[in-house]
């Protein structure tokens, strides 16, 4: 009798144990059907906030649709927020990504903004053989590495922005367009151009390119000023530019100096149109930050509320509504995650080399244009691809002003560039 009870108890325990093991295994299998995506950026700053918001929108949409389809199974996206603090410390950035790799075991990394941090993180990700899609840093050399040592750097891709060389080309075309408007409207024969490029690696390239190209546009270069990226006062530079007789100021300002510059440019009513790259002017808070003196500032941008593609207006509005901010190029994390999703779904596996092979075949229509990677995994620029846009603050509203009949392209909703009224008045 006792033996029967003992056998029965053993059987029950065995069944319970088996059920428990089966349950755990299923739970583990369900848990493992998650793709962890690290979103790296300076989260206390607008750059990192846009990295995160773009990624969050993509993850929510993908998960709402059931997840990423890998073969016959669906994987949910789990985002890991990585506050890199990279604008203040490159070391903080690499430490944060190292922690995400070791502790959170991320499968993919998107984001980063500051060149020095992005380069260090690129090396870290290549060491770990994990895919890293940059959405923020523009250094061309990051892409050149793919061509130089494909086996090591094949895990790296860039979605936004265009690389520094292409940004220079596009922004100089924007300068040429503004120069043309000045010639037509004000009758200037050879507009005088002052170059203001902050002292940074990207600024060096742009200043050198501007020096070469401006005379070929039928314009006259009157001087180059190289303020610090952290300049808190630019009245001296602007006074000197006024003294040099400049009629157009071509800018490359990627940080705080851009706000200082635009505010003092408007307040001092410098009689020169301002055009080029002023990253801070892409933000919705620009007018408030400049106390409304930044009106008529014109800059190259990634997104604008025009029909760059059929997706642009809807996405732009959804992002703006959610963030309370216009999307900047850092919000390219949205496209990066969707491009990765498409590549994984085409590959039908999470195996890295297969996903890379599919990423290389990408042709993704996004809010910024049609995104295709070149042989160095860098996003291609030009008509039919991502062109970038020129935006200008016009009476407190951010308008798209370029492309404007450039290579046959004018995105529906684009308006003509407006010469700042005090500039027109001074030069007429």
């Amino acid at each position: 009798m006792k033996t029967r009870w003992a056998v029965a108890a053993a059987l029950i325990l065995l069944c319970l144990g088996a059920a428990l093991v089966a349950g755990c295994a299923r739970e583990e299998a369900e848990e493992s059907r998650v793709i962890k995506i690290g979103v790296a950026g300076p989260m206390q700053f607008v750059h990192g906030q846009h990295h995160w918001l773009g990624a969050e929108m993509a993850a929510e949409e993908i998960n709402a649709a059931g997840g990423i389809k890998v073969g016959d199974e669906y994987y949910l996206v789990e985002l890991v927020k990585i506050d890199t603090n990279e604008l203040l410390s490159v070391e903080d950035a690499t430490n944060a990504v190292e922690r995400a790799l070791a502790q959170d075991n991320i499968d993919l990394l998107v984001g980063t903004i500051r060149t020095e941090a992005a380069v260090a993180i690129q090396e870290l990700m290549m060491d770990n053989e994990k895919i890293f899609i940059t959405c923020g840093a523009s250094l061309k050399q990051m892409a050149d590495k793919v061509g130089q040592d494909y086996e090591r750097y094949k895990y790296w891709f860039r979605v936004t922005p265009l690389n520094g060389e292409l940004l220079a080309r596009a922004s100089l075309i924007l300068l040429q367009y503004v120069g043309q408007v000045m010639k037509e409207d004000l009758g200037l024969e050879a507009p005088k151009v002052a170059v203001v490029c902050e002292e940074a690696a990207a600024g060096d390239a742009l200043a050198a390119a501007a020096q070469q190209v401006i005379p070929s546009f039928g314009m006259e270069l009157v001087g180059i000023w190289r303020p610090s990226p952290q300049a808190t006062d630019m009245t001296a530079e602007l006074t000197a530019i006024r003294g040099a007789g400049a009629q157009i100021i071509y800018t490359y300002l990627s940080s705080a100096a851009g706000v200082t510059y635009a505010k003092q440019w408007g307040e001092l009513q410098i009689p020169a149109a301002s055009v080029g790259i002023n990253v801070e002017s892409q933000a919705m808070g620009f007018m408030e930050a400049t106390d409304n003196y930044g009106d008529f500032e014109c800059s190259l941008n990634t997104y604008a509320l025009v029909e760059i593609t059929e997706k642009t207006v809807d996405w732009y509005n959804r992002f703006t509504e959610r963030a309370g901010e216009f999307p900047t190029y850092n919000a390219g994390t949205y496209d990066a995650i969707n491009i990765y999703r498409e590549a994984v779904e085409r590959a039908g596996t999470l195996e890295t080399d297969a996903v890379i092979a599919e990423l290389e075949q990408t042709r993704h229509t996004s809010a910024a244009g049609v995104q295709v990677f070149d042989e160095n995994h860098d996003v291609i620029w030009g008509p039919g691809y991502a062109t970038a846009v020129g935006t200008q603050w016009q009476n407190g509203e951010l308008k798209c002003v370029w492309p404007y009949n450039w290579e046959g392209i004018t995105y529906p909703g684009t308006v003509r560039y407006q010469i700042p009224p005090w500039v027109a008045e001074a030069l007429q």
Binding site: P42, Q44, F45, V46, Q49, L87, L88, E198, E199, G223, I224, W225, R226, P227, S228, Q230, A231, T232, D233, T235, A236, E237, T239, A240, R242, G243, A256, V259, T260, K263, Q264, E267, L268, Q269, E280, G285, E288, A289, T290, D291
Partner: protein, 289 residues
């Protein structure tokens, strides 16, 4: 170009002088190198931003209230953190830099890394010697001049000023003569912080607010007070003028090297120190001691 350089020097030099004088004052009296000095400048800027943009106050009352608030915060910090450690100069140095970083992180936490601005009392620009300056810059210069003159009168025409100068010359002798040195140091800390806050309040509409805005002016005023002679008020004003002039010269004469204006100012400071290690007005101060 000469007029451009002179007017730009005047505009920038006034704000530097205001910050440097406050820094020198507390160093002269308390032998305190207060690295949180420009953090008070930042706090005043954010305080005005909050009072104007959030609470809807007008600029002038917001400015007055901000100077008062920052002065109270600074005196509390002085009494609680600095005064007990005053004898240990290195400790004070570390405490004040830590304090500045705490203020920076607090601003980052509550306001984020966004760039912000506050409206000034006057809009538009005017011409001085044919050079265009904003009305706010002109007003700021005038008010700064008045404040600096008031500080001079306070130090040279009042009993408090006499006590401050006596303490600055010889703290032990002042103590032996029956002066309440600790109280004088506290009041000087309050005046010093008020000057920093006033500089912040006046300059806030000209510049951009962001949590790291205290760092650049700190480097500049350190150069100014070392150049002028540690603890010398007159030296601070001369030092501010020299540094502002050197910055203007770089921008106007070497436009492609305008980012070097800070480095050039520091180079001038080094050259002066090689010739006069005690700074421009350091000898007189040592002689007085």
């Amino acid at each position: 170009m000469l007029a451009n350089i002179l007017v730009t020097t005047l505009v920038n030099g006034a704000a530097y002088a205001m910050l440097a004088v406050g820094f020198s004052l507390i160093f002269g009296v308390g032998r305190i190198i207060n690295l949180a000095h420009t953090a008070y400048y930042m706090l005043a800027g954010y305080s005005i931003f909050t009072l104007v943009r959030v609470a809807g106050l007008a600029y002038v009352p917001a400015m007055a209230l901000s100077i008062l608030l920052v002065t109270v915060v600074a005196v509390l910090c002085y009494k609680l953190l600095i005064d007990p450690m005053r004898e240990h100069e290195t400790t004070v140095l570390i405490i004040t830099i830590a304090l500045a970083l705490v203020f920076q992180e607090l601003m980052l936490k509550y306001f984020g890394g966004h760039f912000r601005s506050v409206p000034g009392v006057a809009e538009g620009s005017l011409s001085i010697l044919g050079v265009q300056v904003t009305r706010q810059q002109a007003i700021t210069c005038a008010v700064l001049a008045v404040i600096l003159a008031a500080v001079w009168l306070l130090l040279h025409r009042t009993r408090f000023g006499l006590a401050v100068r006596a303490t600055a010359q010889d703290m032990e002798a002042a103590n032996l003569m029956g002066m309440d040195v600790s109280r004088i140091a506290t009041l000087t800390a309050a005046v010093s912080a008020a000057l920093s806050a006033a500089a912040g309040a006046l300059v806030a509409p000209l510049n951009i607010l962001e949590p790291h805005m205290w760092l650049n002016p700190l480097t500049i005023i350190l150069a100014i007070i070392v150049l002028g002679g540690m603890g010398s008020i007159k030296g601070s004003i001369y030092g501010a003028a020299i540094i502002a002039l050197s910055e203007s010269l770089v921008i106007f004469l070497i436009p492609q090297g305008s980012f070097l204006k800070g480095a050039f100012s520091l180079l001038i400071m080094i050259i002066v120190l090689l010739i006069r290690p005690e700074g421009l007005f350091g000898v007189a101060l040592e002689g007085e001691r």
